[in-house]
Amino acid sequence: MNLESLLYFIQQLLNGLTLGSAYALIAIGYTMVYGIIGMINFAHGEIYMIGTYVAFLAITALAMLGIEYLPVVFLFALMSSVLVSSAFGWSLERVAYRPLRGSNRLIPLISAIGMSIFLQNYVRLGQGSRDLAMPSLVTGGWTFGPEDGFQASLSYMQLLIFVVTFVSMTALTLFIARSRMGKACRAVSQDIGMASLLGINTNRVISATFVIGAALAAVAGVLLGMQYGVANPFIGFIAGLKAFTAAVLGGIGSIPGAMLGAMILGIAESMTAAYFTTEYKDVVAFGLLVLILLFRPTGLLGKPEVEKI
């Protein structure tokens, strides 16, 4: 392997890890909700899309006011996006899923599909269906390699994505492991009936799960929105499906599993795009999903589920 192909490989690895970080943030929402109430929140991808839109709105609003100092812009975009998306996550559970709790498991899934279509068209009505493009805020980066050959580069934006993802994941892990609410979350995911007998307010825990998931999806929305600079009301569908694949790959219900699965998926996708073909990179993701479900339905880090009568 000569230097050039090594650099090319490193570049693809970096791209894959960037993509994987964003998938991981979205996948947490799927995996936590599944871990606690055992349903697939099909509308979760739309929360990510809303996060991107709110970030664009926030950044544009500050730019119109003449504020362009990067840390302020980024933090404001992050906060407003997290706030609005959390509101969506909370209401989603309240309106579309809570009344259906305890019914046949296909019924909440159909309701979630309805909600996903509703949210897509809600944003379409408000913001139009065309692609919105935003100039990138963070430019530049480091490049490695010979002056005249192929150069691998790590942009500052990619670095920002890694750092923010790492911080969010650490915060989440600490929250689940140490805080009172985190403990309650773990208890509810083990046995919801028992937890409520022991005096845990399960409704509150479920709401908190949706809010946390939505907030992380919003973070992903801000980051990917800034990285690619494009938004339309339909980006949530494919991103959500990919993140779900990541969650299943790692073992749905397991938080470290979701992170691992997302990284594997991100790298697999960027390698396919680099070495084979870009047209079929989505096929690789779905093919991976099908294969995982067939041969290891519990995922890499998941626990086997026992069917109870």
């Binding site: 349903m39 697939i40 809303i50 839109y53 709110v54 664009f56 709105l57 544009t60 609003a61 730019a63 119109m64 407003s80 609005v84 509101a87 969506f88 909370w90 209401s91 309106v95 579309a96 009344p99 259906l100 019914s103 498991r105 296909l106 019924i107 909440p108 899934l109 159909i110 309701s111 599909i113 309805g114 909600m115 996903s116 279509i117 509703f118 897509q120 068209n121 809600y122 379409r124 009505l125 408000g126 913001q127 919105l132 493009a133 935003m134 100039p135 569908f237 499906l241 694949t245 299943v248 047209e279 079929y280 989505d282 096929v283 779905f286 093919g287 999903l289 099908v290 479900l293 069917e307």
Partner: protein
């Protein structure tokens, strides 16, 4: 009321957070960057009205729920639920025949546009009935049903383009190919549990669409395939010699050996006969579908579908083959989608991957859910409503998908069994005298 106040304020604020950024502010492209425009006064009125409404309902929640339960008690009971099973079965049968009768005599006085629309409704009835086997009867949530529809449509289009097959030759092949796809997909995935199955079928639907989009040399990619011929009508000819000829509905026959319909019968050329013929053809295909599925549900395999939906573990302990039953439902459902797809390609004369997106699967699923899972009459009614209502309310076109999503959620909350829920087959023993 006092204790609801903080929560009511919270809910009103959340409503604000949901609506102000996305509806109140609008991003517009300005050169290479973006700018924000405020919405018009009407939208702001709507947003504040929404916040107020949420605030008031949360504040007077207990009073409202008291009032509502009072109304519910005073409402008359469901008129159908009072009937005995046998009477209800007869009523449903009668209604089904009434609907069929109406569908047959109706084109005599309808306009050309509405007959064309009715043909589209019939395609969706066929799709709905096919998916009804999978979702309604066997209880397997299939979110990629449109893939089989696409397989059917592309089979005819490709068979015509490369081998010159006619509609009638392609129809059984389209059904078989779709069935084969259903079988091949079903074989590995049917071991999966309900919601996993849903996502895998969704992924499969997307994979098919991506392939259709990218295999440009074979399928024409996003440009699709055009000038697919319309179906012909076979007729028996006695002169000059006894033969079966294919009648075309254009002014002049395009294929050699075919005759134009109007020349054969000695009529004046009328472009409307083509529309009526397509309608009649769709109706015949639909009737066959209705009949076949009605018979199937009374056969052991049909009973097994429903039993499996109700209790999988009980079914397995009674010795039923889980995979076999699921596979039969999946394959049969796919077959009908293949027929519908073949007919769709013939009616449109042009197909492209655009027609086979996830939203199409969602519409067919909504038809099954709205109609009442498992009920044929319900599916027919729901398909009619779903296709006709958006046409009638053209000024609401923009809100169509929004309302569609909302309706799916509300149906699941208020009436998950659908408009006309299916009557479960059951037998009661007579009491001993």
């Amino acid at each position: 009321m006092r204790e609801n106040l903080p929560f009511a304020i919270f809910c009103a604020l959340v409503t604000g957070a949901l609506s102000v950024p996305l509806l109140g502010l609008k991003l517009v492209s300005e050169g290479t960057s973006l700018a924000i425009e405020g919405a018009d006064a009407e939208t702001w009125m709507l947003i504040s009205g929404g916040m107020l409404a949420v605030f008031l309902t949360q504040l007077f929640k207990s009073q409202l729920s008291n009032g509502l339960s009072g109304i519910k008690q005073s409402l008359p009971a469901n008129p159908v639920s009072g009937l005995s099973d046998q009477k209800r079965g007869q009523l449903e049968k009668g209604l089904l025949f009434l609907v069929i009768g109406l569908a047959i005599i109706w084109p005599f006085w309808a306009s050309r546009g509405s007959i064309d629309l009715a043909t589209l409704v019939l395609i969706y009835v066929m799709l709905g009935l096919g998916l009804n086997i999978v979702v309604g009867l066997a209880g397997l949530l299939d979110l990629g049903y449109v893939a089989f529809y696409a397989v059917g449509a592309y089979s005819y289009a490709l068979l015509y383009q490369y081998f010159g097959f006619s509609f009638w030759a392609a129809l059984p092949i389209a059904g078989l190919l779709a069935a084969l796809f259903g079988f091949l997909l079903g074989f590995p995935v049917l071991r999966l549990r309900g919601d996993y199955l849903a996502i895998v079928t969704l992924g499969f639907g997307e994979i098919i669409r991506i392939f259709l989009n990218n295999l440009t040399s074979l399928t024409g990619g996003p440009n699709g395939i055009g000038s697919i011929p319309k179906p012909t009508m076979p007729a028996v000819q006695f002169e000059p010699e006894f033969d079966i000829v294919q009648l075309e509905f254009s002014r002049r026959a395009k294929e050699e050996g075919n005759l134009p319909f109007h020349e054969f019968f000695g009529l004046d050329y009328d472009s409307a006969t083509k529309v009526v013929f397509l309608y009649v053809l769709a109706l015949i295909l639909c009737l066959i579908t209705v009949f076949v599925i009605r018979r199937l549900t009374r056969m052991p395999v049909g009973r097994a579908w429903e039993a499996l939906r109700e209790d999988e573990i009980a079914c397995r302990s009674l010795g039923l083959s889980r995979t076999g039953i699921k596979l039969s439902a999946f394959t049969l459902g796919a077959t009908f989608a293949g027929f519908a797809g073949c007919f769709f390609a013939a009616r449109q004369s042009f197909i492209s991957p655009e027609s086979f997106t996830f939203i199409e699967s969602a519409i067919i699923l909504a038809i099954v859910v709205l109609g009442g899972m498992g009920s044929q009459l319900g599916v027919i009614l729901a398909a009619t409503l779903m296709i006709i209502l958006p046409e009638l309310a053209r000024e609401f076109q923009e809100y169509r998908m929004l309302l569609f999503g909302l309706m799916m959620v509300l149906m699941m909350i208020w009436r998950p069994q659908g408009l006309l829920p299916m009557k479960r087959p059951r037998i009661e023993l007579k009491e001993a005298a």
